[in-house]
């Protein structure tokens, strides 16, 4: 439990860690979504390419937008970008730093989807089976052009009767899957090399400016959090004073309107203070009704001056 608590506190304390956590969760969610959605190629000549490329590119766009939405820093960056200058100068380096860090995190889940799609191979087979050269495959070379298109379009569907044991279908499928996996691994390699170079070479270029930008972007983030917490604290105190003031004014009214019962007794200061002068069913009902029908004004200056 202690271990868990430490991890939890570590994640909470550092906003960047929270963002990394969300980024990781989104990546896992994208992989889970890919495996759980039942991919079914239409196996029709005009539809295959649209479906295959759609499945490969539309979900990454949605995941990228999700990554931007879920990242708290994007709001911080937009606020900093659109605020009037006022008495605090705006530093474009900070905004650029925030922007690049947000984009990097948001790109992880879409990249994961594309790579998983390519390594699995079904999308590419669906999209490009109609573009294969029929001459290279025995069964397709002998068919008429119209038929060839139909046959090639049916390659991704293994359980079609025509295609079930067709060796040419298997050949096309293997060929396209091989290309797809090669592409997938190459993209993965390129991305990892790019990330490695970026991290390795970054300290060589302008490290001081980077440290400054990072410091001030953290600062803006923390400042906004603390401002929100202070506002919450303030509204709690405000509400407390307002309610006490309300009860006091009810007590004054009770004193004015009742004739004999509200003298302060010498032994009962404690009780009276706790009950705030409201000792009757009618008085309580009146208090509750007043609370609804006539809420007190949002002005505690008299209460604070007491």
């Amino acid at each position: 439990m202690d271990h868990f608590r430490m991890i939890f506190q570590y994640f909470q304390s550092n906003s960047e860690s929270v963002m990394n956590g969300i980024c990781g969760l989104l990546t896992l969610a994208s992989i889970k979504m890919y495996t759980s959605i039942d991919f079914s190629c239409p196996c029709l000549p005009q539809y295959n390419m649209a479906y295959g490329l759609g499945i490969m590119f539309v979900p990454p766009i949605a995941l990228f937008l999700c990554g931007l939405i879920l990242n708290r820093q994007s709001l911080v960056m937009l606020e900093e970008w659109s605020r009037p200058q006022g008495r605090r100068k705006k530093d474009p380096a900070v905004i650029r730093y925030l922007c690049s860090s947000i984009m990097q995190r948001a790109m992880v889940a879409p990249a994961a989807w594309i790579i998983v799609t390519l390594l699995d191979g079904k999308c590419l087979i669906c999209a490009f089976s109609g573009s294969m050269d029929p001459e290279k495959f025995v069964d397709f070379a002998s068919a008429s052009p119209v038929q060839v298109q139909q046959l090639l379009a049916k390659v991704p569907c293994k359980d079609e009767e025509l295609m079930r044991n067709n060796t040419s279908r298997k050949a096309v499928s293997r060929y396209l899957r091989c290309w797809s996996q090669a592409l997938g691994w190459s993209i993965l390699l390129i991305l990892i090399i790019a990330a490695f170079l970026a991290r390795w070479l970054r300290p060589c270029f302008n490290q001081a400016a980077l440290l400054q930008a990072r410091h001030w972007s953290n600062y803006i983030d923390i400042e906004q959090k603390i401002f929100e917490e202070t506002c919450c604290e303030h509204s709690r105190l405000f509400a407390h004073k307002c309610i006490l003031h309300f009860f006091e004014s009810m007590r004054q009214e009770v004193k004015l309107h009742s004739f004999s019962l509200s003298r302060e007794g010498e032994g009962s200061e404690g009780d009276q203070a706790l009950l705030r002068g409201i000792t009757d069913q009618d008085q309580v009902n009146k208090l509750l009704k007043m609370w609804y029908y006539e809420k007190p004004p949002l002005d505690v200056s008299k209460a604070t001056q007491r």
Binding site: M1, F8, I37, D38, S40, C41, P42, C43, L44, Y47, Y51, G54, I55, V58, I61, A62, L65, C66, L68, I69, S74, L75, L78, E79, W81, S82, C157, D159, E160, C231, S235, R236, F238, A239, H240, C242, I243, S260, L261, R263, E264, G265, G267, S268, G270, D271, L274, I278, T279, D280, Q281, V284, L288, Y292, Y293, E294, K295, P296, P297, L298
Partner: protein
């Protein structure tokens, strides 16, 4: 347990985090409900469309309403909207902010349901199987059927066991076609929703940030004020009840002494707290009478101050005079956070 308590505390400390948590749970619940639900297409010409579209559209509506119901702030919004103005002005911007934030959270579970339904494909397959383009997908060599017969045959596409139109149009071809259309619709819907959410979230800081901060502060204020008022009323009710019951017991013991001519209860100096707490009721009959009186004739909700002398004898009503010799009771202090 410690883990859950910590997560619970974290979620509760921030009101918005708590609402986000409920929202996430409802989204997960909607995917679970969908996977647990046993989809049964009727495979009849006119019923398919109604069933398919019903499953697609009715549960999201229910989930949307549930999202509002589970949100604590809905009663707060209604109260703020309906209250008379009194001495405090009403700000429509605050009401709009509260409604918008609740509606946004309530929309997530329905959107998840519709997306999952479309991506799965069964609903659209069921609803639109009679509209499959037979000329394109079907076997051209098959003799044509009448409209009604064709619809009847096509309606059975989702039910593979009873499908009898294999010569007209292959079952797998039709299902693949419909599922492809359904998934395309699903992904377009997901893209549209994420784009909308992105625009809403990113345009707000650029245009209305100051007004937004104001509305957010005052809506949090209203929430906190309501909670603090409830807490204050609860504490008042506790003190009221304590004093009322204490006065009842004191009244009982005084009147029993007067009525039954028992020896007046002496409070010996070495009696101790236990004897004080007995409040003068020290035998079986007296206790039974106290209990009976509590049931038959509860005291009125009207506390008397101790300084008021009242010469009334007890006549079964609960207007007890207070012993002058009653030592001051220590009430539990509840000003802990004042």
């Amino acid at each position: 347990m410690d883990k859950f308590r910590m997560i619970f505390q974290f979620l509760q400390s921030n009101q918005e985090s708590f609402m986000n948590g409920i929202c996430g749970i409802m989204a997960l619940a909607s995917t679970q409900i969908y996977s647990a639900f046993d989809f049964n297409c009727p495979c009849l010409p006119h019923y398919n469309l109604a069933y398919g579209l019903g499953i697609l559209l009715v549960p999201p509506f229910i989930l949307f309403l549930l999202g509002f119901v589970l949100n604590n702030n809905i009663s707060m919004l209604a109260e703020e909207w309906r209250r008379p103005q009194g001495q405090r002005g009403k700000d429509p911007a605050v009401l709009r902010y509260m409604f918008c934030s609740m509606a946004q959270r309530a929309m997530i579970a329905p959107v998840v349901w519709v997306s999952v339904t479309l991506l799965d494909g069964k609903c659209i397959t069921c609803a639109f199987c009679t509209s499959v383009p037979v000329e394109i997908l079907g076997n051209a060599s098959h003799p044509s059927l009448s409209q009604g017969d064709m619809k009847r045959v096509l309606a059975r596409i989702p039910c593979k066991e009873i499908y009898d139109g294999q010569e007209l149009i292959a079952n797998e071809v039709a299902i693949r076609y419909l599922r492809c259309i359904s998934q395309a619709l699903g992904w377009c819907f997901v893209l549209l929703m994420t784009m909308l959410a992105f625009l809403v979230r990113s345009l707000r800081p650029c245009f209305t940030q100051a007004a937004f901060l104001k509305s957010r502060y005052w809506s949090h204020y209203i929430d906190i004020e309501r909670k603090l008022f409830d807490e204050t009323c609860t504490e008042h009710a506790r003190s009221f009840a304590k004093v009322c019951i204490q006065q009842f017991f004191e009244g009982m013991s005084t009147d029993l002494v007067a009525a039954h001519c028992h020896l007046p209860r002496k409070a010996p100096e070495d009696a101790g707290e236990a004897t004080e707490k007995l409040l003068g009721i020290t035998d079986w009959d007296t206790m039974n009478m106290a209990l009976k009186s509590w049931h038959r004739c509860k005291p009125p909700l009207h506390l008397h101050t101790p300084a008021l002398p009242s010469g009334n004898g007890w006549a079964g009503e609960g207007q007890p005079p207070v012993h002058r010799s009653v030592p001051q009771r220590e009430m539990a202090a509840y000003y802990s956070w004042v």
